[in-house]
Amino acid sequence: MKNRLRELRAERGWSQAELADRLEVSRQSVNAIETGKYDPSLPLAFRLARLFAMGIEEIFEDG
């Protein structure tokens, strides 16, 4: 699934490690989501949405 995670992260000046810390996941997980190799579960998607203060649909693009 396409997503804007890298772009949103860069806007805030966060590294992958910093984002991983905020989400309480590994940097590996953040990288996998950003590269589209892994689609997060709903709870993680919601945590991302809350962290970036936007809707899930604004971060992830279906298809």
């Binding site: 490690a17 991983a20 309480e24 996941v25 590994s26 940097r27 990288n31 892994y38 997060p40």
Partner: protein, 134 residues
């Protein structure tokens, strides 16, 4: 960076694995010198199994405690590869034995196949998904 659950799991499982090698070495030495037979010999064969069983129990506890879903998925994928390799070796050797294969498979071949496959799966993932420099 390892999560807290992973660090706890690594610390505990390394301790138990050390216990496994000690138990295995101890029972091996005992069997070599005391030459037990029957039930006593079977008990010696079973004893090293317990620390290994604890490692699997610790892995299950880790999978329950780990909040990072992707890390959980990776561990399960590696374990599946390990189980597949171990079963394949067992089936291969078993098939040959049905037809009175005169050869002998090295001891603990399935265990080595399991560990080797898990490590290979982990390494393959890391090499094909390198983390970009930050």
């Amino acid at each position: 960076m390892k999560t807290a659950a992973k660090k706890t799991y690594m610390r505990r499982s390394m301790t138990v694995l050390a216990g496994y090698f000690l138990t295995f070495s101890g029972t091996f030495w005992f069997v070599q010198h005391a030459h037990p037979t029957g039930l006593e010999l079977y008990a010696c064969a079973v004893l090293p199994f317990f620390p290994l069983f604890v490692v699997f129990a610790l892995t299950a506890a880790y999978l329950k405690a780990e909040r990072d879903e992707f890390s959980r998925e990776l561990v399960m994928r590696c374990l599946l590869w390990g189980a597949g390799a171990s079963l394949s070796v067992n089936l291969f050797v078993g098939f040959l034995r049905i037809f009175n294969w005169p050869g002998q498979a090295p001891p603990f071949l399935e265990l080595f196949a399991f560990c080797g496959a898990v490590l290979l799966a982990k390494l393959t993932y890391k090499l094909s998904n390198p983390l970009p420099a930050e």
